[in-house]
Structures are given as structure tokens and as C-alpha cells.
């Protein structure tokens, strides 16, 4: 059923190496360039967590979860509420991840599974959009539409290396986002449950035959994706440029979509690489190309996605599928 395109396999890795070299050379020559690259990587880390959450669900159920961003925002509000009740930041962080996991699990069970039974891609996509409206609406109903102030766990410390200032905020965001993705990768790679989940995603019927409860694995996938999305939401809210409000993740979701699509939709590694690249690209474009103001970041990400899709429809790291008709 699936097959790799034999031609020009080396182009993607070679291109990536070229981009890395370019970024390093630029960073060595200009302090501004280095700073913009690092804060772009921090944004990219946030997009990466959300993009991997999207890929996780796409691989399990072939659905793009349009509600992923809204669920992440909801989780962030839960964390905010817990902190209002007196929990410390990291205690609230841990509780939120657990709540998000249970929430994602429940959402799949209640909202997606009954729809999925009926089949087509269109119905499930529309149901996911219904979920987006529902979740964002609930946030507004419970917590109101005004902007909340989210405390940041990272002291405003700045490290200076060779004339280049790195904020601790950015470095911590990169570290935590990537850590979350790596933990998840380890879970899928090295645990029996992770193996069962991969089996359920790739060959549901065969997995069922060897005793994997496929439907539970799918719910579990949604739970994990929601927890990963919560990490993205919390990191986004910790950043000074993002305000905690019901539509907080709308824009970030688009960047995560772009990353997931550019990475090939089925490849978590591809999504991470693409997310980091998009984060850096957007930052560099807004600081060096003057007619692109912050308002045009979204269209730029969109154009990148469109170009990659038109040139290489399966994304940079996706498999080219041969469809049987």
C-alpha cells in the first residue's frame, strides 16, 4: 500500500543541513540574528508540542483535531484556576496535565467515537469544529472573555554569551516543550502500551486479533494529545507576548497545523523539525522583512504551508501513499 518515492531522497536532509548552517553562520555574525533565532526556537517549541499532539491524533484516527488549540486553552485556564486556589505553579502544572489527559480521553469517548462510527472524513472534521466552538464557548462562559494574567514560572533572568542576550524564559520553553515530546517518544518506543497504541493506529484489525483493545487505545491517544497540548498552552501563556484569553491558541494552532502538514502529518519527528523551522522563520521574517508586520505572520505561515503542499504534497517527511481505488 505504501511506498517511498525513490527519487531525490537526499534533498530534504541536505536542505535541513543547509538551513542549520545558515542559522549558525548568521548567529555568529549578528547578535540580533542570534537572539531572534533563539526566541524563534522557543516559539517553535510551543508549536512543536501542539503539532505533535495533532500528529498523534491524526495517526490514530486520521482526523485533524481542530479543537486541539481550544482544549489546550481550556487546560491553561484550569491551571490558572488552580493557582488562584493557592497551588504553586509546578503543582498546578502537574495537576493540569492529569486533568487534560482525563479530559481528552473523555472527549474522544463522548464526542468523537459516536461520530466516527458513521464514517466519512467530512463528518468527523465538522464534529471536531463543533468541539472547537463548544470548548471555546465553555471557556468564555466559565471564566469570561476578558484577559487573565498568568504568572510565569521563569524569573526574568537574562544570560549573556558573547554579547548575545538569551532570556531564561526562551531557553526554558525550548527545554520543556522538547522534553515533553521526547518523553512521549520514549513512551511510544519503549513501553508495551506504546507499542499497542502504535499497532492500533497502523493495523487496527491485526492489533485486535492479538488482543489490543483498539478503541481504548484511540481514547488513550486523545488523552495523551490533550496532555501534550496542555504543555503547549501553559508554555504559550507563560510567554509575555501571549495573553490568556479564550482565543489564545487560535493563531498558534494554525502554526501547529502548518508544522504538522509541512512535516508530513504522520511523522512526529517531521512535525518537530518543521515547527522549529516555522518558529524561526516567522521571527526572522518579521524582524528583517519590513513590510511584513506582526499582522502578516499568519499569512506567511499559510503561504509556507501552501508552497510545501504544492511542491511535495506528502510533506517533507511524509510517506507518499499509493491509493488503491
Amino acid at each position: 500500500m505504501t511506498e517511498r518515492r525513490p527519487t531525490a531522497e537526499w534533498i530534504v536532509p541536505a536542505g535541513l543541513v543547509a538551513v542549520c548552517v545558515l542559522l549558525v553562520v548568521g548567529s555568529l555574525r549578528s547578535a540580533l540574528f542570534a537572539q531572534q533565532t533563539v526566541s524563534g526556537l522557543a516559539n517553535g517549541g510551543i508549536y512543536a508540542s501542539l503539532a505533535v499532539a495533532l500528529v498523534l491524533i491524526y495517526r490514530a484516527t486520521e482526523v485533524i483535531n481542530f479543537a486541539q488549540g481550544a482544549l489546550a486553552t481550556f487546560a491553561t485556564y484550569v491551571a490558572w484556576q488552580l493557582m488562584q486556589w493557592g497551588l504553586s505553579y509546578w503543582a498546578a502544572f502537574a495537576c493540569t496535565l492529569a486533568i487534560a489527559f482525563v479530559g481528552g480521553f473523555a472527549v474522544e469517548l463522548v464526542a468523537i467515537r459516536p461520530v466516527e462510527r458513521r464514517g466519512s472524513v467530512l463528518t468527523v472534521v465538522i464534529a471536531a469544529i463543533g468541539l472547537l466552538i463548544l470548548v471555546e464557548g465553555s471557556i468564555g462562559w466559565i471564566w469570561g472573555n476578558d484577559v487573565k494574567f498568568m504568572p510565569t514560572p521563569f524569573p526574568a533572568h537574562i544570560y549573556t554569551v558573547g554579547g548575545v542576550a538569551f532570556s531564561r524564559q526562551d531557553l526554558s520553553t525550548i527545554a520543556i516543550s522538547l522534553l515533553a515530546v521526547i518523553v512521549l517518544w520514549g513512551f511510544f518506543r519503549f513501553t508495551k502500551l506504546g507499542l499497542a497504541m502504535r499497532a492500533a493506529a497502523v493495523r487496527p484489525d491485526a492489533a485486535r486479533l492479538v488482543g489490543v483493545r483498539v478503541s481504548w487505545m484511540l481514547s488513550l491517544g486523545w488523552g495523551l494529545a490533550a496532555a501534550l497540548g496542555a504543555v503547549a498552552g501553559l508554555m504559550a501563556a507563560a510567554s509575555p507576548s501571549v495573553l490568556l484569553q479564550p482565543s489564545m491558541m487560535d493563531g498558534i494552532l494554525i502554526y501547529a497545523f502548518a508544522a504538522a502538514v509541512v512535516g508530513g502529518l504522520e511523522s512526529a519527528f517531521g512535525a518537530v523539525v518543521a515547527a522549529l523551522m516555522i518558529g524561526v522563520l516567522l521571527n526572522l521574517v518579521t524582524s528583517y522583512v519590513h513590510f511584513v508586520g506582526p499582522a502578516l505572520q499568519l499569512p506567511v505561515a499559510f503561504v509556507v504551508m501552501l508552497v510545501v503542499l504544492l511542491v511535495k504534497p506528502s510533506g517533507l517527511f511524509g510517506r507518499t501513499r499509493v491509493r488503491r481505488v
Binding site: I64, P114, L122, T123, G130, P299
Partner: protein, 325 residues
Amino acid sequence: MRLRRPTAVGAAATLCAAIVVALLPFALSNYHRTTGATVAVYFIAILALDIVTGYTGQISIGHGAFMAIGGYTTAILTHDHGWNDLATLPAAAAAGFAAGVVVGLPALRFRGVYLALTTFAVALAVPQIAKNYSRFTGGTEGLPLPAHSGLWLYEVGWAIAGAMFVAAWLLLRGRTGRAFRAIRDSEVAAASSGVTLAVYKTVAFGISAAMAGVAGSLFVLVNSFVNPDVFGLQLSLYVLIGAVVGGLGSLRGVLVGAAFVELLPIGLTSGSLAPSQAVPVIFGAVVVAVMALLPLGAADLLRTVLQSRADRGQHPDTPLGTEAK
């Protein structure tokens, strides 16, 4: 053909609905006539979405963007160039058509979730572009337009809606409509029966976007004001909700969908049945429930009733994408 009896019932129902709509303004206050005109706007937009998503199976979450293009065409032509506002409607349709063809071109290569993502990104990007080029669009402050009486808006709105409905019906019942449905049900089968996919998909997008452009233009006239927030993501989602509730792939439910989207929030809040914050929650829940229980919406309900009357076992066709996963 086979459906003679239900068609007769449908024609009678359509006639009744048309008479009610025509007589209604005489029983309404000026304010409620404006509300009625907004229902007409949603009617046209939902009709437009139904052509491309319900009939041709090409999902669009971005119809608010086409409405924005039509709306801004009208606003800029009347505000800066002194056009009569009704004279701008053909221009809005032309601008919408052009935009639809441009968005439809990638649709030739994308299917399913990719198309959903692309149109979603368009819906988010267009208001940002309007914000950025404030020289033409007035930026966030927007542009004012001449105000009209509620009766004028109602009559113009519904006259155009009626004409659009007849045009859509004529388009969909013939050769073109058959080609659209063939594409929805199986692209391969359609292509091998001599339907040129590229032409028909682009045409579907173009016509649909032209109608959405007219809807946007009327929307601007009804509000007598335009700014980017008028055409935010919410509008795109509301049009989709209306189409889903009314029933994708059927013209019968369009009025139901339009009334649902515009009147439910007003009914709930003015009857103080629920706070206004609850509206999106209810909308979202309804969309998920419709997708789970009755994927063809109100039209399906109607069809089931008609069919049991006509003692017919089998659905005439299977709307909503049997598109392969």
C-alpha cells in the same frame, strides 16, 4: 423521475416558505426586519457553502473569508469611489468568484483534511490582511456605509436570496449538479465518466465564493459598517453550523439552518432562557450531536418523513462524502 411525489411536496413547501418570507416584514418591527435581513445573508452564505461542501464534497471552513472579500469590495467602492451600493453587488460577486477560483486551485491537489486546513487558514488570514492594509480597508476602525431602513434591507436581502436559491436549484438539478455530486461520491468514478475534475471543482469553488461574496456585501449593508472583526473566524464557523444543521447536500434545509444560526441566540437571550455566553456552547453541542445522530441535518429529518410517506426504502443518494479515508 422517481422522486416525483416528494418533489411535488418539496415544491409546495418551498412555495409556502416563500410566501411566509414575503409577507413576514409587514408583521415585524423595523429592528426585527433588520434581523430578518441578516437571516437572508446567512441564507445566501449557507447556500453557497452547500454547493461546494454539501454537493461537491470539497470542505470549506473559510466561507467567511469570501464574505469578507465581497463585503470589502462593496465598502471600498461605496466609501472611496462613490458607487451606488446595489451596483457594487455584481462587483462583489466577481471579486468573490476570483478569490474562489484562487482557493479552488489548491483544492485540485488537496482533499479531505488538507483542504479543511487550507480553508481554515484562509478564514483566519483574510481578516489579518484587512487589518494590515488599513490604507484601503480602514484597518481595525473600519469603514462606515450609508444606512438603510429595515424594510429596504429585508426586501433587497430576500429578493437576492430568492434569486440565488432558484439559480442554485437550476444549477444543481442539471448536468453541472450531477457532475458535482459525482465528484463528491467518487472522484475516480467521476473522472472516468468524463467529468473534468479540474474544471468542475474550480467552477464549484468559484460559484460558491461568488455567492458568498454577495452575502458578505449584503452583510456589510445590513450592518452599515465594516471592520475585520465582522468577518472573523466566528462568521465562517456560523455559516458551517447553519449548513450542517440545515443538512449538507440538500437545498431544503437552508432556510432552517439560516434561521437557526441567527435566531437561536436572539431567542435564547431575549427570552432570558440562557445567558449569551451559553450560545456558542449550545451551537457546538448541536453540531457534534447532529454529526453523531443525524449527519444530514434537518433535511434528513424531512426526507425521512417524506420517504416513509412515499413508502420508499432507500435513500436517493448518499450525501456527505463517501470520499475514501
